[in-house]
Amino acid sequence: MPDAPGPLFYERRTYRRRRLADLSRLLPVAGLILMLVPLFWGDSSGSTVPMSLAILYIFGLWFALVIAGALLSLNRPEELIDPQAPRSPLPGEERR
C-alpha cells in the first residue's frame, strides 16, 4: 500500500530531525564496519597488536556506540520514520 502523501519539503527543524533518524540507522552499520577492523590485525601467526591495545580499541568503540545510541534515542527516532508510532504515556516525558 502506498504511503500517505506527505509534504514534499519539510521545514528546517523537521529536516534536521529526520537526518538524525538517518544517523541512528547508520550507527549500527558504522559500528559493524569498525568492529571488523581487527580483521586487518592478522592472526596468531603474525600479529603485532598487543592485547591491551585491542581491549582499549574494542571497548572504546563499544562505549562510543552506547553513548551515541543513547544520545540519538533522546530524539525519538521512531516517530520521525513512522508518525503513527504510539507515544509513550509516561508522565514527564512529553516533548518540549
Binding site: 500500500m1 559500528g31 592485547m51 591491551s52 563499544w62 545510541g69
Partner: protein, 893 residues
Amino acid sequence: MASLNVLIAVCLSYVAVLFTVAFMAERVAMRGQAHWLRSPLVYTLSLSIYCTAWTFYGAVGYAARSGLEYLTIYIGPSLVMIGWLWLVRKMVRIGRSQRITSIADLISSRYGKSNALGVCVTLLAVIGTTPYIALQLQSVVESFSIFAAEPGFRPRPEENVSTALWVAAGLAFFTVLFGTRNLDVNERHHGVVMAIAVEAVVKLIALLAVGIFVVWGVGGGLAATMERIDASSLGYWHTDGSRWGGLIFLSAAAFLCLPRMFQVLVVENDMEAHLRTASWAFPAYLMLMSLFVVPIAVVGLDLMPAGSNPDLFVLTVPLSQGRDGLAMLSFLGGFSSATSMVIVASIALSTMVSNHIVMPIWLRLTGDGASISGDVRHVVMLARRVSIVGVVLLGYVYYRISGGGTALAAIGLISFSGVAQFLPVLVGGILWRGATRIGAFAGLGVGAVMWFWCLFLPSFGADVILSAGVLAEGPFGVSWLRPHGLFGLDGVDPLVHGVFWSMLFNAGAFFVVSIFTFPSPMERLQGAQFVNVFNHSRAPQGWQGGRAQAEDLMIMAQRILGPSDAQALFHDEARRQGLAGYLPDPTADFLQRLERELAGSVGAATAHAMVGQIVGGTGVSVQELMAVADESAQMMEYSSQLEAKSEELTRTARQLREVNEKLTQISVQKDAFLSQISHELRTPMTSVRAFSEILRDTDGLTPEERGRYASIIHDEAIRLTRLLDDLLDLSVLENGQVSLNFRRGTLEEALSHAVSAGRQGDRLAIRRDRGDELVEIETDMDRLSQVFINLIANAQKYCDAEAPVLRIVVRRRDGTVSVDFIDNGSGVEQDMQGLIFEKFSRVGHHKAGGAGLGLAICREIMARLGGTITYLPGQGGAAFRVTLPDRSAMAAQ
C-alpha cells in the same frame, strides 16, 4: 573455605527471595499498580537472559583459551540492538499487533497460519535448546562441587546427579507457578520478569565485583593489570579472522531467533517505547558483563595451578585468595544466570509445544474442535505446564546421557547455529512479501539438514554418532560430503564452515523456491500485513461473517478466554456496533478481533481453525485479494468505503428493525395494559362485591362463615393494595420522584437479606460464594435488596429444572461490581429477551401468576441507583446481571 551447608543455606534463601519478589510483583500487578513494573529498565534487564551461565563462567574460560574471540558473542547482539530501527522494532510491532505468542507462532502466522511450519520451528527449537538447558544444569552442579571439594571429601557422581535433579525440579516448579498464571501469553508474566530483572542485577554485580577484586585487589591496579595481560600467553591479538566475523554474524542472528530472546524481546514487551531505552542500555549491560573477563582469565592463569579448569576461574580465584564472601556472591551470580535462562527458555518452548503440537492434536482427537464441551482453558494450561516440566526434564536427561563432559561446553555455539536457521525465514518473512510457505519449508528443511550433518552430529565427537571414518573420509567414501569439508571446502574452521554452508543453502533455497511458487490467498494477506505493519492501521478482513451464530461464538470464547473476559469483549463490541446487550453482529471485523484475542491464548493457527469451524466458509474473497495488490489500492479504498457504508446501513437497518419491533410490541402492550389493569382490578373487586353483598343481605350467618367471608374480602383488598402499590412504585420511579436512602453496607448483607426474604421453601438451591460478596458498596440498600428479592423470587417461580439451582456470582472488574443470577432452567427465548423488562410482560403463560411488573420495577430501580440490569445470554439458563456503578464501589475504598 565455606562449608557446603552454608552454601546450601545461602542458595535456598536466595531462591526464597526470588519467590517473594515474583509473588510481590504478581500481587502489585494484580492490584493494577504495575506502573513501575513496566519501566524500560525492567525490560532492559529482562533482556539480560541472553547472558546465561555460559557467559558467566564460560566467557572467562573462552578468553583463557581463545583470547578476545568471546567478545563476538556480545558484539553481535549489541549491534542488533543499536540498529533497532532496522529490524527489532518491526518484530515488536508485528508481535503486538498480531498477538504473537512465540517465534514459531510468528513464522506460522506469516506463512498463512500454517501449523506444519509451526511444528517444524518448534521441533528445531527444542532440539537446539535442550543441550543449552543441560549446560545450565551442568554449570550449577560444577559450581556446587567446587565448594564441596573440601579436603577429604570428594563429591560422588551420583551426588552431582541428585543436585542436578533438585535444581531441575525447583526450576520447573518456579516456572509452572509463575509462568502459567495467565493463559493469554500477551498478558505479561510480571512475576517472572521481575525475578529475572533481579537476577540480572545480581549477576552483573557479582561479575563486576570479581573483576574489581582481580584488577585492584590482586593485579595491583589498572596499569599493572594491563601489563600483566600483555605479558601473559594472551599477550597478542590472535583471533582467526573468519571466526571473528562469522561469530559476530552468528550471535546477532541467534539473538533474534532464540526462543527465549524472542519471548522477552517481543512477547513480554509492554510498550514499544521501551525499545528505545533498551537500544543503548542493553549494549551497555553486555559491555559491562564482558569488561573484566580478560583480566580474570589472565590473573586466573597466573594464580591457579596448571591444568585447572579456566571455566570456573570466576569462583576459584576468589576462593584461592580466601575471599569466601566474594566467591559466594559469584556463585549466586552464576546460579542466577543459569536459572533465569532455564525459566524463560522453558516458558517459551512450552508455549510453542502446547500451541503447535499438543493443542492441534487434542483438537483433532476430540473431533469437532470448537464445540467441545467443558472449559478449554484448563486443557491449554495443563498442556503448557506439562510441556514446561517436559522441557526441563529433557534438559536433565540430556545432561545425564552426555555425562556433563567438556563436549557439553562446546554446544553453546552449535545451539546458536541451530536456531540461526530461522533467520532467513524470519527476516525474509517480515521484509519481503514474495516469501512463500513452500519456500519457508524448503529453506528451513535444507538449513536444518545441513546443520545436523555439519554441526550437530559431529559435535558429539568422533565415533559417538558419526564414526571417525565418516568424519575423515565422508559417507561411503564420498569425500565432498565430509561434515567438515563439504564440497571440498577444506582448511576452514568447522563452525564457520557449517554456518556458512547451512545459511547459504537455507537462504538460497528459501529465496529460489519462493520465487517459483505461488502463495495461497491467506499467505498473501498475512504477508501484506506483516511487511506493511507500519502502514496498515487496520487489518484487511479474513472472514465472511453473517452465517455465524453470535451465541455459539460466545460459548466458545467463554471456554478459552474465561467468562468475564469473553463477556467484556462481546459487550464492548456490541456497544461499538450500537447494539444493546451481549450479542454483537458477527461482522468480519469482529471475527477478526475475536480470532486475534483467541490467538493470544492458543496461537494463530489453532484460533483460526476454531473460528473457522463455527463460521464455516474460510475462503478469502476477491475483494480481499484486491486488498493485497498494491496497484488496485485505490479501487480497494473505494470498495471498502462502499462496503463500510453498506455495513453501516445494514446495521442501522437492524437497529431500526429492532426499535420498530419493540415499538409495535409496546403498543400492543399498551393496549393490553388497559384490559390487563381492568382485569387485574376487576377480579378482586368482583369477589369483594359478592362477599360484601352476602354479608349485607344474608341473615343468620354463623360467626365462622362471617369470619371466612370477611377474611376473603380482606385478602382481596390486600391483593388490590399490592397491585396499586406496585403501580405507584413504578410510576414514582419512572417520574424520578423517588427519594433514595444511600448508606454503606456490604453486598453480602443485601444478598443474605434478599435470600431469606425471597426464598420460600427449600425447592430452589442457592449457590453463593460469600468470600466474593464482601464488597463494600454505598447505595440504597433496601432498594437493592428489593431487586435481588425479585430476581430470586423469579428464579423460584420460573425455573423449570428438575432440581432448580440458582448461582449468584459476584465479580469486580475495573471498579464495577457485577452480580450474576444464573439458574439452570431453560432460560428466556431470544425474541423475548428484549421485552422482559417491559411492564406487564410475562414470559409465556406460566401457571405462576404475577402482574409482570417485577422486572420493570427492577430496571427502574437500577437506573435510579446508577447501575444496570441486563439479561445475559448463553449461560445455559436464565441469567440476569446486575451491575453497580463505579462510584459506589470506589467510594467505599
